[in-house]
Amino acid sequence: MRKENRRQTFSPFTKSKELIVESLKLPKDTMLGAAIVTITGNREAFIENYKGILEYTTESIVLQGKNARICFEGSGLSIDYYTNEDMKISGKIDALRYI
């Protein structure tokens, strides 16, 4: 299951950039800086292309993407590993919200 985060309001510049990326079939995550979130069931989430962590508790983990914040809510959440490129969250995930 793969969800792509896009900005809700587009400026003319980003719109044309997106158009170019789409027509040239370039990878959107690198070109647009979109985060890739892969969720397996409700126990594991794998996030690439994010900027940093804003909040980390067992109930919620908030990450900063380039265009939006990604908020995982649940219980017993923990970060299995964390590098500059990607991270893995495990625990019971109840909701994923873009703020």
């Binding site: 900027k51 940093g52 962590i53 980390y56 508790t57 923990s78 970060i79 964390y82 500059n84």
Partner: protein, 414 residues
Amino acid sequence: MLHWIQYIRGYVAVKVWGYSVERLLNLCGNHDVLVWDIEDHGDYHTMHMSIAGFFALKPLLKKTGTRAAVIGKYGMPFFVSKMLGRKLFVAGLAGCILFWCLASRFIWDIRIEGNFALTEDVLMDYLEEQGIHTAMKKSALEIAELEQALREDYNLITWTSVQLRGTTLLIHIKENEMPVYDNRNKADSDKGMDLVAEKEGVVTYIITRSGVPQVACGDTVQKGDVLVSGAVPVYNEDTTVRRYQYVQADADITLSYARNLSLEEEIAYDEKCYTGESIEIPVVGTGEKEVAFRIRKVPYDFYDTSEEKKQVQLLDHLYLPVYYGKRTVQEYEIVPKMHTEEEMKTLLQGRWRKIIATLNEKGVQIAEKNVTIKKNEKKWVLHAHMQLEESAVKLTPTITPPVEENEEENTQTD
């Protein structure tokens, strides 16, 4: 795989607390410090990171106003440094490995399988002679040569297989189930073999298959007399001997001879009566020396000593030259007693039967026997006069051909 790399490179468990742990995590990401297993415990967070990562953490802690403490050290570098602290343990471990490496270069156990007629002791002695024993170097063992030597030195062995399995030398042999003939006589057959009497006696039966009989039925022979000669004469026309053809003499011959025998049995005898008193002494020994754990002397006048010993055993067949056991000393009294007539009869008859059985085993037939028992106040004596029949002959090389024959030939040629 990843776990192994982490283990080999070593990692630490760190407890982090303070103002902004999230910011510290971000900075870790930016500074390429790999962190994993991050857990939130409310007041503090715990995480795992590499050793290098932990040292890179210090400026970041200062920057974010958090504090960190190591709560666990895992992996090879820590294990090694811990072990280096325990020098004796490491030395022991290294010594142990060294010991096993060295010990595995020797043979520690010899097993022989498939032997029925040849006992294990005989074969073990033979191996010892060949320089093969426990605690010998594996490299000194020539398997092919040993197999060949076993086959050559024992006619009975028809097939051998020697294997080295770990530190065990496995010798598998197959014995010949067919009867083995003595080849030594055959080797000399072109020289001729005589049949010679082994005992003094009268020839009662003779049938010659090959060779020239030198005696007839009813002849009295001495020990060493030639009964059947292996030199068969070839005659000239004038009935003089031209030359001799040599054969292996073969004949069925029975020699009859007399044998006297007397068995004595005394009526009075001493019987050992055990009093039931006994002492057990622990014994420990090595080789010829033995130590008994008893200081005082044995307080009995007459006693029997029996020992039960066990050798210290490492493997199935590897015994150390150290044994232990107990020595039992049993007291007895000597009681003079008299045999009853019945007892005397059974005693003498038992001995007599044993003698007959051994004669039968040897293939000796009893043609006649005359047994008398003389009773006396002190003892009984059994006299036996026997006429025995036995094929008491043996093969010996034919004596050098008669001289006259050569002389005759010489004169002829002259």
